[in-house]
Symmetry: C2
Subunit: 430 residues, 2 copies
């Protein structure tokens, strides 16, 4: 049954992931051929610096002209691991025009232009697969869009950025401050020289947009995702979290509203109970928790980044796309039929942990409690600590909308007896 004419693959980008993809395509060529039903051949590799020595890659395959490679006309599958918006976007749409399917690891591009790319793939009858764009090697896109295709997903909540999880885990386990933990992450190669995309939550927000889109059959773009980074998280926040049996994680949370009529997507640091499966995700690992009507609670766990794990996801997609090609079919495309509205952050309902610096005198608690009540935010617990005329109030609320909580905090700031709002953190996973 084996076809002898090979399927031709163009590799765009040959950095940490691309070089690993090329390596596995060579070392596991026989296995890949057996699983696909035809050999796959690396037909060209587009790079920026052709002079760099790339072990195991025939220099004759290397080119700096990615556009010409994609336009060759004999390419079956384009593997895009360049990242960023351009030239990746143009190269992908050109690939479709020239009769190739695409496997991409580009979360930023998919979060911004996923709908247009899917439309282009569909127009030309090609596949667009991108398991590697979210949570590295962890199978997540395929389970969400295929295994759970007969279920109703209500929530996807996960740790989808290894850099920030490494930093927060370090802060949690050693009591280090943010900067110290970030410095260690940088020294160990877990954080990039410019860590903005990770610590400010841009990377996680792109993944949240992709996950929400698939889970809710609704277009969700990066701009729809509320985003708060984790640079403000302090050692004192971790102490507060511990006091209530929690730890702090940077979470991507995609939720269907209780009435089912809208969805939200957000990324922010949050306290979660130590008993929650996500609390024990250590180091640079990723994990995603999925709640559905019928399946109940599922969790997917594994390495969220790195050359080899990401290459594993790329190659899984490559095998699937090649199989589709041989059978003359395409896999599932975009599913956005539900077209639910994406609500703003103010509509999100969750719990909050608020630390206030207050005057240490009688009646302060009563004043504060009144403000919460006036804004319809019900208090679960209050802890009062005072010394030397200074005092702090730690309030944990019941579930309330983010808009109500924001209104509450604004009003609290206006109280003479409230000297400052030391921290506000959402509490998830209960």
């Amino acid at each position: 049954m084996m076809r002898t004419r090979p399927l031709k693959v163009a590799l765009l980008g040959c950095g940490v992931v691309g070089s690993e993809v090329a390596r596995i395509m060579t070392t596991h060529a026989d296995d890949l051929a057996a699983r696909i039903g035809a050999p796959v051949e690396l037909a060209g590799v587009a790079v920026r610096r052709p002079s760099k020595v790339r072990e195991g890659i025939d220099p004759a395959l290397v080119t700096t002209d990615a556009t010409a490679l994609v336009k060759r006309g004999d390419i079956d599958v384009v593997v895009e691991v360049i990242g960023g918006i351009e030239p990746a976007r143009t190269l992908i749409t050109t690939a479709f025009e020239y009769g190739a399917s695409v496997v991409s690891a580009n979360k930023a591009l998919l979060a911004q232009d996923g709908a247009a790319l899917h439309a282009a793939a569909n127009e030309h009858g090609e596949d667009l697969y991108y398991e590697a764009a979210v949570a590295g090697a962890i199978p997540l896109i395929r389970p969400l869009r295929e295994s759970l295709a007969g279920d109703k997903i209500n929530r996807v909540m996960g740790i989808v950025n290894g850099t920030t999880n490494f930093i927060l885990d370090k802060m949690d386990s050693t009591g280090a401050g943010y900067q110290e933990a970030l410095d260690e992450a940088t020294a160990l190669g877990y954080a990039e020289a410019d860590p903005t995309a990770d610590v400010e939550g841009f990377d996680a927000a792109a993944k949240a947009a992709i996950l929400a889109g698939i889970a809710f059959h609704t277009r969700v773009r990066l701009d729809d995702v509320y985003r708060e980074g984790m640079a403000e998280v302090t050692a004192s926040d971790f102490a507060s979290a511990k006091a209530m049996g929690c730890t702090i994680k940077l979470l991507a949370i995609c939720e269907r509203a209780a009435d089912g009529g809208s969805v939200t997507a957000r990324v922010h640091p949050a306290m979660i109970p130590l008993t929650h499966p996500l609390a024990s995700v250590r180091g640079a690992y990723n994990a995603v928790f999925v709640e559905s009507d019928a399946s109940g609670q599922l969790m997917f766990y594994g390495p969220g980044a790195g050359g080899a794990p990401t290459a594993s996801a790329v190659l899984g997609d490559l095998v699937a796309v090649c199989r589709n090609r041989l059978s003359g079919a395409t896999g599932p495309g975009e599913s956005a039929y539900a077209a639910l509205p994406v609500s703003p952050m103010g509509d999100v309902v969750t719990r909050y942990h608020i630390s206030l610096d207050v005057a240490d005198k009688p009646g302060v608690l009563a004043q504060v409690a009144t403000v919460f009540a006036e804004h319809g935010v019900s208090i679960d617990t209050v802890r009062q600590q005072g010394k030397d005329g200074e005092a702090s109030l730690v309030v944990v609320t019941h579930r309330a909308s983010d808009a109500s909580l924001t209104g509450t905090v604004e009003a609290l700031r206006k109280l003479d007896t409230v000297r400052g709002v030391a921290s506000i953190m959402r509490v998830e996973g209960e």
Copy 2:
């Protein structure tokens, strides 16, 4: 793009899982239609007791003649949730002959006759999907055979039976004995009246056969799986496990030999470190740990049984099979090209925890240590406890073959100073 002629589904079996499949097909009909691209219609339901009232199912669809239903000729997909070998096997092969694809949850049948069923599906150009056969709602078959299709899987180790995990978790957390914990599991509905299939490991062994087959692209049948039940596990074993920072789980373990030339599959109770992700899987939950060359360590976690979770897996497959049908293609079939030999249990290499009742006199440890050395089994630690002329020796070994360990134990039994071998347990997850 929506096709209006519905795809027709025949449901074989309407127990806990089947009734849930029928319910979701009705309540989520619009979503299923949108995701498939055509409506799906429940065309018939084969049951044993037609008089039983089945809420939400049109009595006109109910029949006791499953064969006639499958032979109707207008059925697109047969969903088989009867279980057992016959009549399920004949009904499935008949379905293929009459032009239907099949979604099955039947682990026993697939573990025994998977190759023949796949061949029949292939012969008639139909799909055979069975995500629900292993670990309920947890997406596992599809990730293994599609997401990791470009990777080399070296080990699949999991808790794939909820009943036994419930019992072992209860023994661990309360100190209860096996019978007491089993009684509670029965009372709560986690164990069946005849718990043999679960506690003797038959259920887990069937799943191990299926997982090993997919992971290693090799035919593995139920008979190839070494199997030990968990009825012999005692409260004292749990105490021993705790003393070494472990707990006890009934594990299904599928491994590629270090030289890559063969595989093994086995089910038995084993000690695993409390720090291992599988150690914290509580109650009736399932979890499967997968180790691959490129992806590293992945874990999949969720409810392993129950009507709704299993129905979620069935419906995910149903959507996939219907999509394939509309596009005129079939999904990936059996992949057994590697055809690696399945080695016997004696070839498995792991660590062991052995408790011996010995005479409390000088020289016993030296005698025992000599026997281990003679059989090539290297000792990691020994703990000696003595009182009133009785003593016990607890030996934990380094990695050794099961055959060497068996030889060691046989020789130990012949020593005058060894009064008995109290327990032997494998140690995994390190």
